[in-house]
Symmetry: C3
Subunit: 312 residues, 3 copies
């Protein structure tokens, strides 16, 4: 648990351990003084090669609430522009006695690549790498689901939208499989499905009517508008007609099914405002739990790293 | 006092309560360790839709000296660029357990709009909205005046310059009226006066010779050069000839009249360097008191919000 | 020692005092909680008129590990764009009760200029000014050398590369002279040597074969690619052929000579990867000691300023 790079490879016990640890941190979030001194004196570097105010902010808040010092490094504006290589930047930051790197990168595998080069007392957390994984997002989604349903083994979960490009979906599917969800469905047009979709351990649906039938959890994915040009879907309007989550469509699911979305949402593209703001939506709870789950992951990783690094 | 959105609507007692609280914080500013733990564990978000290093910095310093954690969100570079609405951004930040939003926005009424949507334990502070209000600036101006004169009821105050576009002037005029200043004068060319100027409770002068006569306080406004194109004034040079504060012009006021300016100053446009750096200038005192007045307002607002939010 | 503007003018005792203080801070860097409360409640302003993620980061980490509050002011995006003068910006920041300015500026003498205007309880640290000086870099270099060799008086040191434009080289040469190095050599093409090079107290070499012979320390300078256009050198390739540090060339120096570089390195331009990553390279140690040396300098300066400023 020194690094947290992907869901794949973790055990059911690992995931429940993270979720249980998260539970203890949610109570901190409700206190007047929302701080614990667990990571006091640690230096955590947000190493972002891709802009993301939202994800960076949740990690920054999680780190500050653990009393760590946070350094935000936006690589677009840093020394790499002076011709320095990624590894040189990394080794320099490490030499400054950084204890943890939270890495977001447009290339799949970047966080793991970095983890192969850091010292034994340094942790690497994947905050999203290419299309590969976004494991902290998946864990906050699992935590949100577990807050609403006792057992994963009874749950039918539908993930709707751009599975092809989504590191979020990939990590969610892995986590749901490890936690033993009864059924994982993906609902998407063929153009937004990966070639190997059958091997992911999911059932594939092309339409919502069948795919949403009787599910307990509906996870909507963000339609990344920058991919509209590519011809993956005819138009936003048509996408909404076929896959947008409306009250009528949500009624196909179980009566109290919860609706999730990793955010930021595109109202009227993948989800209607009635549903996003409606009683079944747990979208803002996901954001709230996102801090606690990251506090849990940072503190678990740091404590493994401390053991590993001996006196340091 | 949970929100601090404008001066209008506050009582004389309210304003003096803020000024008295500020007084207690000025002493902290002179200590070796300029920190108090009043807001420890609170998360304060600087939500700036308009760039302003100076105002953001003073709020950030005030918050840090109260031991709060500060998050700077520059909306131009954040998720709104991904198509997220203002309210979605707000609700997301709130779900991350933010305790206070300090809002600067180019539209009048933005801070109040936001205050209508936040949870009952969250505070909103207006750090300047369009042409409407800049209430913390007005309070630091009032504090500066009160440091130099015992009673507002004996004071003649002149505000010189671009009243039309100035949220600062509007808030100052409201505060001076509430605190019972003897006379509030505005001095400006017709083109820089709002249509309803007579209803603001001020006397209007078009020239400095009459307007500055016998005043105790001269408040110069910043001439926003970006408005020069609009034809509001013929040229910077001509403006300085007519309204710039020179030693000769200042001599029209009372001998020990104080000179104020919200900054940043345009030397040679609205004020000469002799006056800006002269013995009657209290411009840097305003900056100094700006930290203490914001510490006072943040802590008063947070303590109201805490009562409101119950255990949280 | 209230300001730290340049090496020139300091005594051997001064420099050893800084190096001894640094020694005590290196142990802090190895603790689990890498923080000491020495500068708690102090406000340190990183006043950067030139972008530099690396230098700003090391000062920010040093300040945070001393428990100070840090304000990063990037002048390109601040009030100076609103037409405010440098001194007005400075006085405003000072009025906000800043305790220290860490200044980087493209003009030689900028930090000293600023130091002439600050209050008696405020410190100014030069983080690089034009071609003049980069004294904290020189001190971390001296510390790195002292970690490897007991006595400066027995050392031959070669500095290779763009001496002409290098504030780093200038400060290193001053420090090495003050600390009594046996021999200081500079190795560079004529076009990259300053006119007054003979007066710097160095021996000048135009080729590595002679210049590197028998030296204990090789300091490579960064070739600033933005100066390539100026015709100072024919091409990067040719530069590497003549001055790049390869294993063969390093073999001319003493067998255990250490290799230093202020970073960020241009692999294949001024140094080969074999040498940069090889056993004689202490480049990452320099980065590591950079934090400790800056903690030492900030705390020494602040304690002088505190004495100077009396109760404040």
């Amino acid at each position: 648990m020194r690094h947290f790079l992907q869901i794949d490879g973790l055990s059911t016990k690992d995931l429940h351990h993270i979720l249980d640890t998260t539970e203890s941190f949610t109570s901190i979030d409700d206190r007047a003084v929302k701080k614990v001194p667990l990571l006091r004196g640690k230096t955590i570097v947000n190493l972002f090669f891709e802009p993301s105010t939202r994800t960076r902010t949740t990690f920054e808040l999680a780190a500050k609430r653990l009393s760590a010092d946070v350094l935000n490094i936006n690589i677009a504006t840093s020394a790499t522009t002076k011709g320095e290589s990624l590894l040189d930047t990394l080794f320099n930051l490490q030499a400054m006695n950084s204890d943890m790197f939270i890495v977001r990168h447009p290339e799949s595998g970047a966080a793991e690549f970095i983890s192969n080069y850091v010292d034994s007392h340094v942790s690497v957390i994947n905050a999203g790498d290419g299309r590969h994984a976004h494991p902290t997002q998946a864990m906050l989604d699992m935590f949100t689901i577990r807050k609403h349903y006792k057992e994963f083994s009874k749950l039918r979960v539908a993930i709707v939208g751009d599975i092809l490009h989504s590191r979020v979906a990939r990590s969610q599917i892995e986590a749901l499989n490890i936690l033993g969800a009864k059924e994982i469905r993906v609902i998407a047009p063929r153009t937004l499905l990966p070639a190997n979709v059958a091997q992911l351990g999911v059932e594939v649906f092309q339409n919502c009517k069948e795919g949403l039938f009787n599910v307990d959890v509906v996870i909507m994915l963000r339609l990344q508008k920058e991919r509209m040009q590519g011809g993956f879907i005819p138009s936003e309007h048509e996408y909404f007609q076929l896959y947008g989550l409306t009250p009528e469509r949500l009624a196909i699911a179980k009566p109290n099914a919860i609706v999730m979305h990793p955010g930021p949402i595109n109202r009227g593209v993948e989800i209607s405002s009635e549903v996003a703001d409606g009683p079944q939506s747990v979208i803002l709870q996901q954001v709230k739990y996102g801090i606690a789950v990251r506090m849990a992951i940072l503190s678990l990783a740091m404590s493994s790293a401390d053991e590993n690094g001996g006196g340091n």
